[in-house]
C-alpha cells in the first residue's frame, strides 16, 4: 500500500504548518494504530464517508480529511466533533463515536491524533 505521508514529510509538514508540539509529540506507532482504527469497518470506518490521503475506496458523504491541523487548531475541538458531532449540528449524519460508545476512550484518542495529523 502506498504510504503518502512518510515520517520525515509529516515532521516537515507539521513544522511548516506550525501545528505545534502536540502533533509532533504523537509517535509513529500511535499514529499507525489510530489509522488502523480509523480504517477498520468495525472501528471508525472513517473512509466510508471521508476521503483522506492513502485511503482506499473512500466514500464522499462527508468532507475530505485534509489540513485537519489547520481546520482544528485546537485538538480538543476535533475530539469534541468526533465524540458527538450532534452538538454542532443536530441533523448531522456522522455517528457520535464517543457518546454512543462506538469507540473506547483510548481508541477515540488514537483516532483523534491520527485525524489531527492529516
Amino acid at each position: 500500500m502506498k504510504r503518502v505521508i512518510g515520517p520525515v514529510s509529516r515532521w516537515t509538514a507539521a513544522g511548516l504548518l506550525m501545528v505545534g508540539a502536540a502533533a509532533q509529540a504523537v509517535d509513529d506507532e500511535a499514529l499507525a494504530e489510530g489509522k488502523a482504527i480509523a480504517t477498520d469497518r468495525n472501528g471508525g470506518n472513517c473512509f466510508s464517508c471521508h476521503m483522506a490521503e492513502g485511503a482506499e475506496m473512500a466514500g464522499n458523504g462527508g468532507p475530505p480529511l485534509i489540513q485537519m491541523g489547520m481546520r482544528y487548531p485546537e485538538r480538543d475541538a476535533l475530539k469534541a466533533q468526533i465524540f458527538d458531532p450532534r452538538v454542532r449540528n443536530p441533523n448531522t449524519v456522522m455517528p457520535p463515536y464517543g457518546a454512543h460508545g462506538i469507540l473506547t476512550d483510548r481508541e477515540l484518542e488514537l483516532v483523534v491524533d491520527y485525524i489531527h495529523s492529516l
Binding site: 458527538d84 464517543g98 460508545g101 476512550d105
Partner: protein
C-alpha cells in the same frame, strides 16, 4: 466546547472508564450487567435495541468466567452505556424525526 452537555458526557465517560482501574469486583460486574439487560429489554420493546449490547454482555460474562474481572467490568460498562443510549435514542427520536420530514 460549545455545549455543556457534551462536556458532561465526556467527563462521565472518562470517570466510568477510570473506575475499571480501581479494581472492580464481580458483584459490581453482575450489577452492571443486570442494569444493562433491563435497559436493553426496554429498548427492544421500543424497537430500538442496538446490536452491540448483547455481544458486550456476553463478552463480559465470558471475561468474568475467565476470572478477568477488570476486562469484564469494562465490557459491562460498555453494555450498560449502549443499552442506556439506545433507550435515550428511542425517547428523543419519538419527536425528533418530525424535524427531518421533507417539506416540514
Amino acid at each position: 466546547m460549545k455545549h455543556p452537555l457534551a462536556l458532561l458526557g465526556m467527563v462521565s465517560a472518562l470517570t466510568l472508564s477510570s473506575m475499571a482501574w480501581a479494581g472492580a469486583s464481580a458483584d459490581e460486574v453482575e450489577d452492571l450487567l443486570a442494569r444493562a439487560a433491563a435497559a436493553h429489554e426496554q429498548a427492544l420493546a421500543l424497537e430500538h435495541g442496538w446490536a452491540v449490547t448483547e455481544p458486550f454482555m456476553e463478552q463480559a460474562r465470558q471475561a468474568l468466567a475467565d476470572g478477568n474481572v477488570d476486562a469484564a467490568h469494562e465490557l459491562a460498562q460498555r453494555a450498560l452505556l449502549t443499552a442506556e443510549k439506545s433507550v435515550a435514542q428511542a425517547q428523543s427520536e419519538a419527536e425528533a424525526w418530525k424535524g427531518r420530514v421533507l417539506g416540514s
